[in-house]
């Protein structure tokens, strides 16, 4: 493939859409990379579900406190102006609409904004949901970062999710390796194409009707 964004470029593109001063929750995986690409002149404050605002980058060995982790159970640091709180307060921030933006990974997104990112629904698999269902209901702007297709080339942007849903009609915008795609009342609509990518290529790799950029 000639054109498109790599993981870091997808994260950087998503970061561009987050307003200065936002309280932001980043999911595990590519979404975590967003923190590396805060646009010049803006400040985001990072929330982690396990009870902290003002989360900083991974610690050096000397800085490391075994009690200081993020929701992905990775060691993090504390920035000036941080605060700690218990889980009920943490999810009050989420459920109560106080987090401005949440960036998540996904398995599938449907044209109406349905998100499926917690379970393949495979028989016998151990289900694990974490905070995903609270985040998608509580945060107004749910941004998704994902490859446009699976490794097998199957579309992840679909007409209807085949995997069990995380939430109904919750996604606002999707950042893929090929494009920025909005979820609109008319379904998927390209907002911006990655360099070297054509609308036709995006359309072909999308499992639902998709409109070109306005």
């Amino acid at each position: 493939m000639s054109g498109g964004w790599n993981r870091e470029q997808m994260a950087a593109r998503a970061a561009q859409d987050i307003p200065d001063g936002s309280y932001v929750n980043l999911g595990i995986g590519i979404p975590e990379l967003v923190a590396k690409f805060v646009p010049e002149g803006r400040e985001f404050i990072y929330h982690t579900e396990n009870g902290m605002l003002g989360m900083g980058p991974p610690p050096t060995d000397e800085e490391r406190d075994l009690d200081l982790m993020n929701a992905g159970k990775k060691y993090v640091t504390e920035l000036p102006g941080a605060s700690y709180f218990h889980h009920a307060d943490s999810f009050s921030m989420i459920r109560g609409g106080h987090i401005d933006v949440c960036v998540l990974g996904t398995m599938q997104v449907a044209a109406n904004g349905d998100l499926a990112n917690w379970s393949t629904g495979a028989p016998g698999a151990i289900p694990a949901v974490g905070g995903a269902m609270d985040l998608v209901q509580g945060v107004d702007r749910i941004y998704v970062i994902t490859q446009h297709t699976t490794k097998k080339g199957e579309p992840k942007l679909v007409e209807q999710c085949s995997y069990p849903l995380t939430g109904v009609g919750v996604v606002s915008r999707i950042y893929t390796d090929l494009a920025v795609v909005d979820v609109t009342p008319d379904g998927f609509r390209v907002f911006e194409l990655a360099p070297g990518v054509t609308f036709e290529e995006v359309e072909e790799k999308t499992g639902a009707p998709i409109l070109p950029a306005e």
Partner: protein, 236 residues
């Protein structure tokens, strides 16, 4: 850099419109944001719904705001304090409406507003006239009443320390309803005794994380309702 500080109480309350719902922190005199309330009197907005545990004392602060006729409705648990004279007069004259809510239910309704919980069940008021017209329901053989969340357009809050991110601490029992109201208001306005630099407040000591706060104004030497009343002061 995020900076939520405002230079004056007047500026901090300037955009509160007529008809707004305003939560006011404090339990009696303790934690009452007198300077912010007086700024709201100066600003002159009217038809306010005010949520506070009480209805103010003497002729200053919340009592004075009620006295000017700016408040059309009070939501509170205890409108009858020994030094509450203004509210009874306005209430008896039919100039202010009252919604009476038990104190624990008031606290929980406000928390629920901030926590995104539209309704919950409580045993308080079961079998009393305050439960009349409310849904009730049994769980595990006991009766409970359903109560709804309570939100506000603005909250006026008094803190002990604050930083430019809006992180707050309180002094002793001046804490009371304030952390809950910060959660439940769209715009939370704080007067603080001391404005600290970012990073100066111990993260373990933060009671209200800045995410719940929108505006911070330093009022370094705040008046206290009890002192004003002892001095027989009135406002304006």
């Amino acid at each position: 850099m995020i900076d939520k500080t405002y230079s004056s109480v007047a500026e901090a309350v300037a955009d509160i419109p007529d008809g707004a719902t305003v939560m006011v922190g404090g339990f009696g005199a303790s934690g009452s944001p007198i300077e912010l309330i007086h700024a709201l009197i100066d600003q002159g907005t009217s038809d306010l719904t005010v949520i506070n545990n009480n209805t103010g004392n003497g002729e200053v602060g919340l009592a004075a705001l009620i006295g000017t006729g700016q408040v059309s409705k009070m939501i509170c648990s205890f409108p009858r304090s020994s030094q509450s004279r203004v509210f009874p007069k306005m209430y008896e004259a039919g100039k202010v409406e009252l919604e009476l809510v038990p104190q624990g239910t008031l606290a929980e309704r406000i928390r629920s507003g901030g926590a995104g919980i539209p309704a919950f069940y409580t045993p308080s008021t079961v079998g009393t006239i305050l439960a009349e017209g409310k849904e009730s329901r049994e769980f595990e053989g006991r009766s409970f009443v359903m109560e709804r969340w309570l939100k506000a357009d603005f909250a006026l809050i008094k803190a002990e320390t604050a930083d430019p991110l809006g992180n707050l601490t309180y002094n002793k029992t001046a804490r009371n309803f304030s952390p809950l109201m910060c959660m439940a208001a769209t715009t939370t306005i704080v007067q603080t005794k001391r404005l600290m630099a970012r990073g100066e407040i111990n993260p373990e000591l933060v009671v209200t994380p800045g995410i719940f706060v929108d505006r911070v104004v330093e009022v370094a030497d705040p008046v206290h309702e009890d002192t004003l009343i002892a001095d027989e002061r009135s406002y304006p």
